[in-house]
């Protein structure tokens, strides 16, 4: 395998957007890309997090296609965060297809919140195969 074919390490970062937040993702597998999306959201929500507590929550999401699945997955996390006042940063994707996801997630109430996230959007949404891995982009309304 040459350097160009090396799968990217899983990571996320934020790029400039005048009004909202643009989350960028890279990962060797699609499952890890979806995990990274959850971790990016967690970083945005709070930088004063606590170790996860309590039993894992089982999450199932169904969507029209793979891109919509990423949006729905993030919106599911946003809903649970607001309802349970928890930031989820322990994420295990058990199964993933283009239209369905099953995950176990754990989180905890943080000591402080950072950015209130209203929703994930379809705007400039992208999941792409790049080299030996995947990249993604989601704009979040904050």
């Amino acid at each position: 395998m040459n350097a160009r074919q090396q799968p990217p390490s899983a990571r996320h970062w934020f790029e400039e957007h005048t009004g909202e937040v643009e989350l960028h993702l890279a990962a060797p597998t699609l499952k890890q890309l979806f995990v990274e999306a959850g971790l990016g959201l967690a970083d945005l929500l709070s930088d004063q997090r606590r170790p996860p507590d309590g039993a894992p929550e089982s999450v199932e999401v169904e969507a029209a296609d793979r891109d919509a699945l990423l949006v729905d997955w993030m919106n599911e996390l946003i809903f649970r965060t607001e309802m349970r006042q928890k930031v989820y940063d322990e994420i295990r994707i058990n199964s993933l297809s283009d239209r369905r996801l099953h995950a176990d997630i754990r989180g905890a109430s943080p000591d402080g919140w950072r950015t209130a996230v209203k929703a994930a959007t379809f705007h400039r949404l992208e999941i792409a195969r790049e080299g030996a891995g995947y990249t993604g982009r989601v704009v979040l309304d904050v």
Binding site: E16, G19, F79, A116
Partner: protein, 477 residues
């Protein structure tokens, strides 16, 4: 992409339909040279051009001078689609449905107010929940919540004593859209909203104590009961998690329905359906319900602010806050333009009905509908009045704020939160915001010059200046 805009008026620029296939109407922006150059730095023009592809759009996709990049629509975008079969797009209203502003005015005046404002700000910070995940003191039963969603402010005033009958007259649509149907609002949305009435939220939402600093139009200011030196309170918040979930739910539904209506859009976030379709009708009914929730949220906050003023100042005119007006800036309304009914989407834009409108309070007929343009933190806000000319020029719409010029990250690179706090305090502005980082994100340099924005809408004839308000105390999430 750099666009070559054609100047079509003193402060109007246009991109014609020939720019790109699929444009049904031109894209038109109200701005001066400086604002246009700021607007061209992000993707907002591209987003406005995308809006011109909405099925049923008529006249033009309009950008206000505070326009900046959003998602789907730009923030500061306005579009009218022909009812009944034109499209309604949840992304053209936004997640924070009926995010808006309400202005209250007190008989308390400067300089007498100087000594009590710090206490008022402190006490308000104790009684108003701010920030992410803060819950209000009202917990609604399912039946109560449905009545808030269907009846809006009238239910809170008449059955819970949360405000005055006269408040209702001074709220856009009297704080209640009749098209609301709580059964079209999902359980998830209701769960998110059930304990959020009377909360400010985070982000750019705020509550500000201000002083009337300048009056430009005596007659209009008198009608709005605004005089030099008076204390005003500006509330900026919306429908909280309930509205966010309504938008999330219906963007998803409409995205799935696009193929059924043979709609092809340049941006998936513009997902839409004909207003007359089942999806369109359901969304409109849910959006109206969320709008009622947002007006109710500002009504409960008004009640809390009045309680605080009474507690601190005792009974009397100084503590009797009156509602000047309450306007939505993320909403779709059915409005009449000649023989046509249009579904006017306002995303970060304010309705601007003129003096001859019969839909505005009697006190403002002959004056124009009040419009409030908050500046950035530490800068002035403006009170404007709508004009009759705005109907033809801008679908009865105008700007909604200063409009962001820098991303939050860029703002934080240039501003240190605790230094900004000190700087504001040195100007005599009391700031209650727990996070220095959030304070930096909302720093004045992150925004366009509000005076320039207001100057443009005034020169364009789509609103006229009435008064200027300067901040004395700010409460932020």
């Amino acid at each position: 992409m750099a666009y070559e805009l054609k100047q079509v008026g003193e402060v109007q620029y246009e991109l014609g339909r020939e720019l790109r296939p699929g444009m049904h109407v031109p894209a038109r922006v109200f701005a001066d040279e400086k604002l246009i150059s700021q607007i061209q730095r992000d993707h907002s023009l591209e987003q406005l051009v995308n809006v011109t592809s909405l099925p049923g759009i008529t006249r033009a996709a309009l950008g206000m001078p505070d326009m900046h990049e959003g998602y789907g629509f730009p923030v500061g975008g306005v579009a009218g689609t022909l009812a009944p079969d034109g499209a309604i797009s949840p992304g053209g209203i936004g997640f924070d449905i009926n995010c808006g502003v309400r202005l209250l005015v007190s008989e308390l005046r400067y300089p007498e107010a100087e000594s009590v404002v710090p206490t008022l700000v402190h006490e308000l910070s104790r009684s108003i929940p701010t920030g992410y995940g803060r819950h209000g003191r009202i917990s609604l039963s399912s039946a109560d919540l449905d009545r808030v969603l269907s009846e809006g402010c009238a239910y809170l005033v008449r059955e819970h004593g949360l405000g005055l009958e006269e408040d209702l007259e001074r709220i856009e649509s009297r704080g209640s859209l009749s098209g609301a149907d709580p059964s079209r609002v999902s359980d998830r949305a209701k769960q998110r909203g059930e304990d959020q009435l009377g909360t400010l939220g985070g982000g750019n939402h705020f509550l500000e104590l201000q002083r009337v600093d300048a009056v430009y139009d005596e007659e209009a200011a008198r009608a709005m009961r605004l005089g030099l030196g008076q204390v005003t309170v500006l509330i900026h918040t919306g429908s909280r998690g309930l509205g966010h979930q309504v938008c999330t739910d219906y963007v998803r539904e409409m995205d799935k329905a696009l193929a059924r209506y043979h709609f092809s859009l340049p941006d998936r976030q513009l997902a839409c359906a004909p207003l007359s379709s089942p999806e369109g009708k359901d969304y409109f009914a849910a959006m109206c319900a969320a709008a009622n929730f947002a007006w109710s949220n500002r009504q409960v906050l008004t009640h809390r602010i009045r309680e605080t003023f009474r507690r601190q100042l005792g009974p009397g005119p100084a503590s009797e806050l009156r509602v000047v007006y309450d306007v939505a800036h993320n909403i779709a309304k059915l409005e009449q333009f000649g023989k046509h009914t249009l579904c006017v989407h306002r995303k970060g834009a304010t309705r601007a009905f003129g003096p001859s409108s019969t839909e505005i309070p009697a006190a403002y007929r002959g004056i124009g509908q009040p419009i409030f343009i908050p500046g950035s933190m530490g800068t002035s806000s403006f009170v404007l009045a709508g004009t009759d000319a705005s109907k033809e020029l801008s679908l009865s719409s105008t700007c909604h704020g200063a409009g962001r010029a820098l991303s939050r990250t860029a703002a934080k690179k240039q501003v240190v939160g605790h230094e900004l706090r000190k700087q504001l305090e040195s100007q005599g502005i009391i700031v209650r915001c727990p996070s220095n980082a959030e304070l930096a994100e909302e720093a004045p340099l992150a925004y366009k010059d509000v005076e320039r924005v207001v100057d443009v809408v005034s020169r364009a004839g789509i609103a006229k200046k009435v008064a200027r308000l300067v901040p004395r105390g700010v409460l932020k999430g």
